[in-house]
Amino acid sequence: MYTSHTKADKEEMLKVIGLEKIEDLFQCLPDEGKFPTLDLPEGITEMEAMDELQYISSFNETTQELVSFLGAGAYNHFVPAAVDAILQRGEFYSAYTPYQPEIAQGTLQAIFEYQSLVAALTGMDVANASHYDGATSVAEAVNMAYHTFRGRKTRIVVSPTVNPQYRATIHTYMDGMDLEIVGEDLDPNSNPDDLIELIDENTAIVVVQYPDFLGRLFDLSTLTAAAHEHKALVSVHINPISLGLLKPPSEFGADIVTGEGQPLGISLSYGGPYLGLFATKQKYVRKMAGRLAGETVDTRGQRGYVLTLNTREQHIRRENATSNICTNQGLIALASTVYLSLLGKNGLQDLAKLNYHKAHYAAEQISTVPGFSVNPVQPFFNEFVVQCPVPAEEVNQTLLEHDILGGYELSKDYPGMTHELLVAVTEMNPKSEIDFLVAVLEEEYHD
């Protein structure tokens, strides 16, 4: 039940702070900002509004109509209809924060299963109930390292090929803390081992991405060993689909694994809501931000689920908490749980292989177009950099005229990379689309 403040309550509160009416609270606002006259058109009916909005939305160009090779952090994957059908069940759709285990067993079980799937996928001991998105997961990893060493280690080493948006989020989260963030200005084409010389005794964490923002895969074991030698943590950001094929970061020493969960059955939706995966080792579980659902038994010995470590952040640890963010992406985490359950272990492996082989076919074909090249020795998963004979921006413009969303122009983040286009290929790109892309490039850029 929601009980609002009574008139008497409000009067009493105003009296305490020495004001007469609520409007007095807003004295600091300039007069012209208060109750401005709005120049709005006449109201319209719901039917008219629907008409107008539909007209506006008809200008959208989406991955439904276009052939898309755009990735750079968000990937066009098939979402089975069952994902949405289960998501929209009232029991899940309307359930808010599951603080009360006696009425929220379904939600808690879903979170527990989600955590179990993320832990299994990443090879880590424990996963939390999720964060907002990949970017906030990465920032929470830095935050966790900072608190693990209780602020005594103040150097954060970040690879230049961690998604630029994630790096920006690290800066936002850590702003105001006395930290030194290094590594981002290294040459993006460099090897992750080049970060090693930046790691010292004062380093709290090394943050890398695997595959990295340029789609590349590197053996990170030397880097993680070097970080551990200096008692620094290592956080590896992954693409969850790639782990159907690749060695999980737990096997090369990651202390924290973060991921953008969007590829796991979550539609592109203009950039969100997405899903932040976060997993770590058991020894750091009490430094992990967010919530953790646990399995237990009730007074009758029956299996049940509870939130195990959430309230301690806000209610018990207070200013000692790792993060002030406890919230999880409940519904989106559920979507990824349904998606992974539908796929199963073998399905995920098949999907990862499909992505890998399609991307490698595309890279091979694009390389045959005169003027275009893809590094032939660099291992990658489903995304790779294409060197173009003209600025990547021009290539994208040309492709768009053929209803192809070409790729990501890397010059947006790396000013030197004017001719580099980041191309992603998924199971959504049949061979015919890849061949069409190559045919357009051949036709437009022949000598």
Partner: protein, 128 residues
């Protein structure tokens, strides 16, 4: 509430037992009682590290609150009680014995002389 006479106390509810230039420290019976069930002990100081009086060396977390524990005297950490990691409840059961937190090699033993004795600690005014 027990307040052994052979120990020295701080206003922040830490105790120390001085043996030569070494000191063993923990939190008092009163502190564990106020915190109630202890569920997690994090010794943030590590062996070989030197800390000043008043610096945080341990965090004790109960079902009610997380509390910082401070160095009662300055010195080098020579041993930490690792059994508390798995058995934090020892602090509730035996705060002056098995649940010692760290051993310190004092860099300035006169600091210990300035701490409270049992009577002084018992007579502290509590604001709760």
């Amino acid at each position: 509430m027990k307040t052994p006479a052979d120990l020295k106390y701080t206003k922040n509810d830490e105790w120390i037992r001085v043996e030569g230039d070494e000191a063993v420290m923990g939190i008092t019976d009163y502190a564990q009682d106020q915190l109630s069930d202890i569920v997690f002990v994090e010794i943030v100081a590590f062996e070989g590290e030197s800390l000043d009086q008043g610096e945080t060396c341990v965090v004790v977390e109960s079902v009610k609150a997380a509390a910082d524990v401070y160095m009662p005297v300055s010195g080098e950490i020579i041993e930490v009680n690792e059994t508390l990691e798995d058995s934090p409840e020892l602090i509730n059961e035996d705060p002056y014995g098995e649940a010692w937190l760290i051993k310190i090699k004092m860099s300035n033993p006169s600091e210990a002389d300035d701490l409270l004795d049992a009577e002084g600690y018992q007579n502290l005014e509590r604001d709760h």
